[in-house]
Amino acid sequence: MRSVLQNKMYWQIILTVFMLLDFLQMAVAHCMVHQIPPRNFTLPYRLLNETFLSPFSAGVVESWSGLRREHGASKTKLPLLMNEESFLCCLWSDNNIDCSLYRASMQARKFIPSEINISASQEIDSNWNIECWIKGKLDLLVCSLRFLKLYLRDDMKVDLLYAVSELSLGDVFTSSLKGTIMVAPCDCSEYDKCECCVPSLRLNYTYIMWLKMVIGVTPLWSPLMSVKPIDIIKPEPPLNLRLEMAEKGQVKICWSDPVLMPYPLQYEVKISANSGQSGWQMVRVALETSLAIDNMLLDSSYLVQVRCRNHRGPGFWSDWSIPYNLNLGAEVLYFPPKILTSVGSNVSFHCIYKNKTKIVVSKKIVWWLNLAEEIPESQYTLVNDRVSKVTLFNLKATKPRGSFFYNALYCCHQNRECHHRYAELYVVDVNIAITCETDGYLTKMTCRWSANPNTLLLGSSLQLRYYRSKIYCPDFPSTSPKSEVKECHLQKNHSFECTFQPIFLLSGYTMWIEFKHLLGTLESSPTCVVPADVVKPLPPSNVKAEITRHVGLLNVSWTNPAFTNNDLQFQIRYAVNREEITWELYEVSNVPRSALIKVQKLCVEYVVQVRCRELDGSGYWSNWSRSAYTLVKDIKAPLQGPEFWRLITEDPARRQKNVTLLWKPLMKNHSLCSVSRYVIKHQTSGNTTWSEYVDNGTTCSFPWIEHTHTVTILAMNSIGVSSINFNLTLSQQMSTVSAVQSLSAYPVNSTCVILIWTLSPQIYVITSFIIEWKNLNKEEEMKWVRVPPNISKYYIYGGYENENNASLYVVLPIVISTSVLLLGALLVSHQRMKKLFWEDVPNPKNCSWAQGVNFQKPETFEHLFIKHPEAMSFEPLLLEPEIVLEDISVTKALKKEDTQDFLVIDSMFTKMQDSERDSACSSSHFNSSSFFESSHDDKSSGEIRRQPDVKYATIIGDSRSSGLYEQKMNLRSCFDRCFLAEDSLVTGALSSSSWEVGNGAFLILPDPPGRQPSKTLSLSLISSEGFSEPSDQDDAFTDGDSPERSLYYLGITSLEKKENDIFLTEGSRVMCQFRTTSLLKDVGFLQRAPPNLNAFIQSSLKYNAVVPYMPQFQMTAAKVQETTEKNS
C-alpha cells in the first residue's frame, strides 16, 4: 500500500517537472508584447548592459555600443529603414520582468500579446508614461512620452522603432522584423515630455514598436509594444451643430460626423448653462447625429457640445465640439427644411418662428411662397402655440428660376416681417410614361421613356426598374423591392431606350422610373406590359397590285407576315404614282390576303402599300410594306369613239370636195386605257359601206363624191372597239342656224383670249358649241374645240402677243390676230324633238313661204321654229327632202352604268324625251302648209340654183336619215330650188375657202325619241354653214328689221395692220345684206365698212366673204390651249 502511494507521488513529481520544463520551453520560444490601449499607460524601460545578454541567444552577443553607433546615424526626423535591429525580448509576470537583447536574424520566436501590470513595473528601475493615438485625419500615429523619474536632459535622445505587418500580432514572428524596421525620431523639446509621430498609417495593420532612449551614454530600452491604429483613433469633434425641427414640432439638436471615420460613432451631448448662470449640466448619449431636446430649452441661453468615439470598438473620445447656443441658433426652424416630392402630391411644412429672442405664437405666423405669394390662411394649421403648419395641395412641377431649382417657403410674422431662412420645396414631374414595343420576330421588346431635362434637379438620376410576373400582369401593378435595374441608353430628345432580349412573351413586365436625389427617391406610377400585347408586326410581304380587266377594280394581294396569327386588320394605301403622292386609305379586316378597291382612274399607275396590326387593336401598326405598282393596260374596250370635225376643201378643177376628218385623241378615261388604231367607217347614200384604219395620227382625208356621206370613227384597243361613236353625215346641201347673238373676244394677257358670247333669246336646246380658230400669222391649221352648251365664255390659251406694237392693246382692247369662228347652236323646241331640217333659205321670189321673211335677223329663224308651236304634228317623212346637211350622231344602246360617262348625252336625251311638243324649229319650219307646198311646187317647176347667194342654215337630223335622204332625192322641195348653187355669183367666193362650207358652229342634237325607241341614243351635230341670204320679207315673217339681232360676220384683226386692217363687220351686209349687230361697236370696230373697202376686205381676209352671217374672229393665235368655263 505504501509503495503504491510512493509510486503515485513519483509520477506526480515527474509530471510536474515535465510541466515546468514545458513552461520553460514555451517561455524561451516567445517574446511578450505589450498591447497599447486607447489610454495612457505605464511601461518600464531597462538599462541595456551585458547582463541582458540572453542565455537563449545561441552565443550571439550584441554589445549596446554597436547599437549606439547605429543610433548616431539616424538623426533625421523621417523614419529610417534599418537593415537589422536588435530589440528586447521580454517575458513578464505579475512580479518579474526578464528581457534579453535579441535580433531578428536569430531563431524565430513568436509574439505573445500581454498587458504589463503597472504595479509590477513599479518595482523596476523606471517607467514611461505613454499615450498613443491616431489623429483625426487618420494619417498620423502620435505617441506622447512622459518620464516618471527622469528629468529631461539636453543629451537625451529618444527614437521610436517600429515594424508594420498586415498579420495580427499572434501570427507575427520575430523573424518578420528583419529588414522592415523603421525609426521615427521623437521630439523632446517640451519639458518632461517627448512626442513621436508615425506617418502614413495603415489603420488595420499591426504595428510593433519599441522605444530607445540614450541619456549621455546610457541606453534605455522599452519592451516591445504593438497596436492596431484603428483601435486608438481619436476622432475630430462633431461638426455643424444646429437645431432642427422634427415631426410634430419637436426640436432636436443635430450635428455632423467628422470626416473619414472608418466606423460608426457614438456621441455624448452636453447641455450646460451659459456662463454667468448656474452650473447646470446634462450629458446624454446618442447613437445618431441628433438628439431631441425640450422646446423649453430654446427660451434660455443654453450651450450644447457634442463629442464622439468608436461605437463598437476601442478608441478615444474626441474633444468636445464648439459650443452651440440654443437661444441664438433657433430663430426660425422648418420641418422639413427641404422636401422632394412629385407633381400632384400634397406636402406640409412646420415652422417655429422666434423673432430674436421672443417666440412668435403660431397664430401670428403667415406663410409666403417665393417671397411673392402669400399662402391663404385656410391652408394653415396651428399645431401648438409655437408651431404652425401649412399644407400645399396638388403641387405643380418646380420651374427653374435662374439657378434655383426649388420653391422657397417662408414663415413670416403677420406684420409682414420674415426671417431670411426658408424651407425648400422641390417638385419633380415623375409622371413618366413608358411605352414598349415588341418587334415582329417576337424576340425583343424595346421600351422608351423620356424625361424633361428642365424639370430634373442637379445631381439627380433616373433609372428604369422592373420585375417580371410569370405570366400576365397583376391586376394592380405596384413597385417591388425585388425589382431589377434595367440599363437604358440615352437617345435623341432626352429619351431613353431599354431593350429586353430575349423576352418572355406572355410574362408581365412591371416597370417604373426611379428618380434618385440626395433629398430622396421618387417613383413614377408602375406600368405593366405583356410583350405579346405590344407587338409591331412585320409588314406584309409579296404585295402585288393590278387593275382588274373588264371590272376595273384595284386588286391588291399580299402575304401575311411571319409570327402573326390570322386575326389581322390591314390598311391599304394607294395613290396615283406621281411626284406628289396623295395617299388614299382603305381598311380591311380578316380578309384572305387580298382586297378589291374601287378607284376613279383606271389608266394610271398606282403605287400601293399595305400594313397590318392585330385585329383586336392591341399592338401597333406594322411599317408599310414595300411599294407595289400597277401596270397600265387596257381594261375595257374604249367607251366611245373620238369627237371629230371636218375640213372641207374643194378642188375646183376636179369639181370635187375633199373632206379631212380631224379628231381629238381619245383620252384615257374614254379609251381604257389605250387606242391602238382608229377605224373610220364610211357609208354613202348609195348604201355603200367601207372601213379604213388609222394607226397613227388623228386625221383622215377622203373625197366627198356622193351626195351624202356618213362617217363614223371608232376607237380600238386590245379589248375591242368603242361601242358609242359619233357619226358625221356630209351632205351637199348646207344650211346654217343662228343661236349666237353676239360674240366678243378680249385678250386677257399675251397668252390668253377670252371669248364671250350671248345666245339668241329664243329657247333653244343647245347640245354643244364648236369653236374654230386659226392663227393667221403662223400659217397654222385650223383648230377647233367642242364646248358644252351651258357656258357662255371660253378661254383660249396660246401666244397672242403682238410683238410689233403691244401698246395697241391699250387703244384697242381686243387685238387678236387669230380668227375665231363661233358657229352655233342648234335649238330644239320645247316639246319632243323629232327632226329638223334646214336647207337653203328659199328665195322669196320662188318660195312663197319665204316671202316676208327677213333672213337677216335671227328672229327670222326663230320664228320659223317657234312662231306656231301649236302646229307640231308634222309628218317626219314630209321633211325628208330637207334632211340634214351635216349630221353627227352618237348611237349606242344606253346602259345604266354608262350614264355617268355620257352625262351630256343623257341629259340631252332626257330633255328630248320630256319634250312633248315638236321643237320650235320643226313647228316653225313646217307649220305653214303654204310654205311646204310652195316649195314642193317650186321643185316641180324646176330648180333655180343660181339665185341664192347666201347659204343658210341648218339643221338637224339624226342618224336614221337614210330613208329621208332617199325621199329627199325624190322630193325636191323649194329649198332645193333655193339652194345656193356652187356656180352662183357669190358662191364662187364662198367656195374658194373651206370656211364657206365648213366653218360654223353647230349643235349636237339627240335623236328624237320616237326614232329609236330601243334604248338607242342619237346625237346629232348640226353644222350651220350659213344663214340665209337677204330676201324679201315674207308675210309670214313680219317682224321688223332689227340690226341688233341680225346675223353678222364678225372679224377682228390685229391693229398692227393699222388702217388697212379694217375690220369687216359690214361685210355680211355687203354679201348678205345683213345688218350687223353693234357687238363690236364698243370695242371700236367698224360697223360699216365703206364700199370701197369691200374689195380689200375680201382680198385681205382670207375667209372674208364666206359666210358673212357667221360670227367670226380673227386672232393672232400662235398656240391655243383650251379650257372650258367649268374648268376655269
Binding site: L442, I471, Q501, F504, L506, S507, A532, A562, F563
Partner: protein
C-alpha cells in the same frame, strides 16, 4: 320564410358575374397558349438547323415526337424538352428565346390546368445519358430535339383547338 329564398337568389345573382368571367379568362389563356405554340413552332422552323430526312439512332434520351394527350402529359413532355434545350441554350440567342417561350408555355399550361382543376403534374425523371449525349453530339441533339419539339408543339396546338383534358 320568404327571406331565405330571396337571399338564395341573391347569392346566385352574385355568382353570375363570377361564373361568366371565368370562361373569358380561360378562353384567353387557351388562345394565348395556342398562339405561343404556333410562334414557337415558327421560330424553330426559322432556325432550320437541318432537315430530318434521315433516321438517327443513338438518341433515345430525346423525347419522342408524338403529341401528348392531356395537359399533364404536355407539361411532362415540354419539361423534358426544356431540360434538353437548357443544355443547349448556352449557345445563342435564338435558343435562349425558345427556352423563354417554353417557360411561358409551361406557365400557360399550368394556368390552364388550374382553370380546369387538374392536379399538379409531377416532374419527370431526367432521361439517362442526356449530359453525355449533349456533350458528345450537340449538333445532332439540337437538330433532332428541335425537330421533335416542333412536331410536338404542332400537336399541342391542334389539341388546344378544343379544351384539352387533364
Amino acid at each position: 320564410m320568404r327571406w331565405p329564398g330571396m337571399s338564395l337568389w341573391g347569392v346566385l345573382w352574385l355568382w353570375l358575374p363570377l361564373a361568366s368571367g371565368h370562361p373569358v379568362r380561360l378562353e384567353k389563356v387557351r388562345a394565348d397558349t395556342r398562339n405561343l405554340t404556333r410562334t414557337l413552332s415558327a421560330r424553330i422552323q426559322q432556325l432550320q438547323l437541318f432537315p430530318l430526312s434521315l433516321k438517327i439512332t443513338g438518341l433515345e434520351a430525346i423525347p419522342g415526337e408524338g403529341a401528348p394527350e392531356g395537359l399533364g402529359a404536355m407539361d411532362h413532355r415540354l419539361q423534358l424538352f426544356q431540360r434538353l434545350l437548357g443544355g443547349l441554350a448556352a449557345g445563342g440567342l435564338p435558343l435562349a428565346q425558345i427556352a423563354n417561350d417554353m417557360e411561358n408555355l409551361r406557365s400557360l399550361l399550368a394556368a390552364l390546368a388550374a382553370h380546369l382543376g387538374c392536379p399538379l403534374p409531377r416532374a419527370p425523371p431526367a432521361p439517362p445519358g442526356l449530359p453525355d449525349l449533349l456533350a458528345e453530339a450537340p449538333h445532332t441533339a439540337a437538330g433532332l430535339a428541335l425537330a421533335r419539339l416542333r412536331i410536338c408543339l404542332d400537336g399541342i396546338a391542334a389539341r388546344l383547338d378544343s379544351l384539352p383534358a387533364c
